[in-house]
Amino acid sequence: MVAPTVRVQVEDFDVAAEEALLTRGRRDIGAVVAFTGLCRDEDGALAALELEHYPGMAEEEIARVAGTALARWPLAGLTIIHRYGKISPGDRIVLTLVAARHRAEAFSAAEFMMDYLKTRAPFWKKTHRVDGAQGDWIEAKAEDEAAAARWATKSSDPAQ
């Protein structure tokens, strides 16, 4: 059984180093999918994002969704790193890294993880605007709920 690596941290992460950790010495991995989520500047309006999280629950919830992914697809490795605190445009926010024998399961598991992180992991984003105005909390999107819902099955919906 593969144990996922889950980290919730202020610091930036190194995608290549995490990928090397996951694949080093392995000769049975045919596919690695690395998804990196970055902070956009919203056409110049955004000065920074402030990410708030629920310590403890964030790690637990990500690990729980990771466990569902590992039960659903035959994976060789799974790493999820999610940052919190103040993040500037162009900076990395989140990494999902999946290693598998074949590409189809690596792509599916990575997309599944991201769809569920968006709607289930206890993080909230507040915007800081370039004009100095107090920004708003970013609202959850219906399309993210829909993206997560398409993975639901009777036997393995992490929302249950």
Partner: protein, 83 residues
């Protein structure tokens, strides 16, 4: 029990966390929301739209029907926007 608040729920209530002692008649998460909403203006605003506030009991997502039972910590927060 301990109540913790995040994002705009925290800002509207004006507290990140507090000890609460609801009466025995408060049995479910939904009943606890009703009880909290009556505690003051900030709480009323925070819980004005019941469906916009999510809850977790001991760090697990729950809904309004979930019994509070012996939970030690309840969290209230807006829909999540991680990733």
């Amino acid at each position: 029990m301990k109540a913790v608040y995040f994002a705009w729920v925290r800002e509207r209530i004006g507290l990140a966390e507090e000890e609460i002692a609801p009466p025995d008649s408060v049995k479910t998460v939904g009943q606890l929301v009703d009880w909290l909403a009556a505690r003051g203006d900030g709480y009323a605003v925070a819980f004005a739209s019941r469906k916009s506030v999510r809850a977790a009991l001991d760090k697990t997502h729950v809904n309004a029907q979930t019994p509070i039972a012996a939970a030690r910590e309840i969290a209230f927060f807006p829909p999540m926007t991680g990733g």
